[in-house]
Symmetry: C3
Subunit: 357 residues, 3 copies
């Protein structure tokens, strides 16, 4: 007989609601009409910047992600015979495993590089030459590098698609896509024929320095009618908060962007609170906005949701984990399905998973 | 024409008896009657401690391991579509590859973490958060960590099974299972209806510090009738050799535990000699019992077998490798099949490999 | 609408001629008559040195490589159920990924070791013991190690095949096979019934120190009639350029080996120029022949081709990349198919891919 105390420790429940944040991928799936052409055309593109998308392509990707999330065991062979080169020259476990899980879930094989110091690059090999090597070795590349320009250098020589999985302080487009996918999973009505009330989004972060924030703001531009207001909360002055031209770009697309330095001033009105505290600069990360914290006692609307790209620090208290505000775990889970959708398209396998061909 | 000297060097024989220690997995397979219920119930448990098992569950796992070992090419797709997260925060090649080989042999895919310093944990991310990430990314986790409490912390948040693959000085249950499996592979009669003479086991090691020894002693408790005597050989005093309560626990289960500080006093009577010299403490390993050595001239019974969890140091001479005492290579090989058996059960695929469903 | 400048950046062409150096794998395939016996017998050999081959075995391997290269999507399951142990104790990305890509392209699974410091070897475990472990865990080993003797030590205990993927300054036989495969891909007539003019080969490198050069020279010995002259270009004196016996060995096989210290003296007559500047010695690489450079203005015959094992340094200018002299990218690509051919044979799967069984 096992000690009952030990027995309790070792038991686990697979069926416990597996996300905090009760996702509705089926509702989102039904809210969007399939149009495969937007997906098949992705096979001729690198994924470099949030700027390169359009509203319809994003919606189709979200639809496919929702289809995967609603049927997690159904598409296990779509990438058979395909090889991913997972090149994380800047250390990362979360993003690397998210991509690798997405690829494996679809039946593909993977070659990983997890340490720049063991590569030819350390010996002075150019990224162009590395890209030529990758052309011969795989079918798709995922690259994270601390240097903003690395992905561009590789793109010049690649004949297989590459995904920018974070390039310095510049961009991280698939994270932003996962963020937006989470919002629409929560409120599928917003992309349906009968959209409900638009959202008041509070974004705690530093647009000039944080790649996740920069990419997300760019994606919001494709859905200006969905966001009644976007309030960027930061302890910098407005002219430091944004880099040159960044705010103007957002406003051009019709986004109503405000700023604030007191989180609690704007929190009570927020429908969605996005928070991030980390920026990658050079070879290490910096923390910003140390005065901003969210916890279970923060003045949140009862139905407000919180998003965080994770990993988190002190800015996001674990006291929120078991509250209905917690959609950041759902966000992390959805990121796998979003990446599955994107990867499928990049390697020309979209037709295998479309409803209508 | 190839130089005959070179020709001799490059030739190898696949058919040379591939273990020192002639295994009888088929005999063990036949000695145990299948009872699948003990296996299917494992799918709701983490594998944390040798304490959590019972005699019947272990026997069923050994039976399945023997079935795999007797038919190594038969079950190559049982884990198709399943993803293992192989997280070795404490460096290890032997155990990591043993688990990964087991998983691959059954057709599953793997994501590896081989270096704690490249992970979010290095930046202060909690293991609970890492566990939440793993819930989304894989179907099973194997964890090795120098910190004893890490596996417990992850278990609190996991909704997929985790295997403790060595947590500091605490436990290493699958190694102990592989050790015991080897003994029964050598002497299947001991678990049959007509058991032969019970075993005199000499165990050279340090129960208070070595996780392999600690877990093995716990497992022996389920088979007290199989071991007429267990003699722990160590150069410490008895009250330092064991930690508080450890010896009492063993005696409660009916094990006849003795201690000795002179190996050669007890060696001539031993049927099974288990030896280990390494303990993981903090971030490095310590060697204990440097005065104990086994070699081909040691006073062993002609039919005694030697077990060692490997990697070995000077305590185990290579002069024993080509003697019939060498069952440590068979033990290493069997560990792969034992882990195949356990992993199959954890991810709910036992029904695919049972004889009777 | 996407900014046209961005659009141009993210677009890529899969159909752009995917090698500089227009390969003719089909012509090579047709030039060699299949004789599977030479391939099936490879399953009882380790791949250790270029010395161990013969002309016919090499030709059959080149034929199979050409078959793979001509039909890259046809043989995706030949290694299903097989596990490769990819052990790169000396850091390498290019060769590791080349082997891993080859294995994955054929449907096999892989376990990688990319850092010696995380292994038991760092703790003093012997390579013989590591080899015994590998016997239990995988079906084939690829080893790179800075120590010349490591592969020999492992071979003594292995019952599965191992490939020497670079052992110190000694050998790198599969690189040399890929080099020669490239030459025959370019000039299939040379192994046909009606061979054209033999080749003048200029080899910029250091035979006494560079493993790639050493292995290539050995392979040339099987085809003395193909090379009218082999000129080794180096700034050392002739008696330092070669190690004891090396030059004599080449001449015994009928190779016409010359030396030169001025590259431009011999370049105008060269049909094939092979250049390498790096040698692995101890735990780091050394550069040799810094005075030798090739660029688009070098006095090359219009139809001369350049080979380089890569990664390159300043010795090979990128100004050559878009010229017809560039066969080094084709060489890197072909290396994957060459390794596919060899690996298939080693793990006894040749019969699955032969035309005639």
């Amino acid at each position: 007989m096992v000690d009952p105390k030990l027995e309790k420790v070792i038991q686990f429940e697979r069926t416990r609601p597996d996300v905090h944040g009760d996702a509705h991928p089926k509702k989102l799936l039904r809210a969007i009409v399939e149009d495969g052409d937007h997906l098949t055309k992705l096979s001729e593109q690198h994924i470099y910047s949030a700027d390169q998308f359009d509203r319809d392509t994003l919606l189709q990707l979200f639809r496919l992600a929702a289809k995967y999330e609603a049927n997690p065991d159904r598409f296990t062979t779509s990438l058979n015979g395909q090889i991913l080169i997972s090149a994380f020259y800047e250390p990362s476990t979360r993003t690397r495993l998210s991509f690798e899980s997405a690829w494996h879930r679809l039946g593909g094989d993977i070659m990983s590089i997890t340490d720049r110091s063991t590569t030819g690059i350390a010996k002075g090999e150019s990224l162009r030459d590395v890209a030529e090597m990758f052309n011969n070795y795989g079918d798709c590349v995922v690259l994270r590098d601390s240097k903003g320009e690395s992905v561009r250098e590789m793109m010049e020589a690649l004949r297989i698609p590459i995904i920018n999985a974070g390039n310095g302080t510049d961009e991280h487009p698939t994270q932003a896509m996962a963020d937006l996918y989470t919002i629409f999973k929560w409120r599928p009505d917003l992309v349906s024929d009968e959209p409900g009330k638009p959202l008041n989004l509070v974004l705690v972060g530093f647009p000039a320095k944080m790649r996740t924030v920069r990419s997300l703001l760019k994606l919001l531009c494709y859905f200006p009618e969905v966001f009644s207001k976007v309030t960027v909360v930061n302890d910098k002055k407005k002219n430091q908060m944004f880099e040159a031209g960044q705010l103007e770009h957002l406003e051009e697309f019709g986004l109503n962007v405000q700023t604030a330095d007191d989180l609690y001033d704007v929190l009570p009105e927020a429908d969605v609170v996005y928070i991030n505290a980390i920026s990658w600069e050079g070879n290490s990360f910096k923390q910003y906005g140390k005065s901003y914290h969210l916890d279970a006692d923060s003045p949140l609307k009862s139905d407000a949701i919180i998003l965080h790209p994770l990993a988190r620090g002190e800015e996001l208290s674990t006291s929120l984990d078991n509250t209905p505000h917690n959609w950041y775990f759902s966000q992390a889970r959805g990121a796998v399905f979003l990446r599955m959708a994107l990867l499928t398209c990049l390697v020309k396998r979209a037709e295998r998973v479309l409803d209508v061909i």
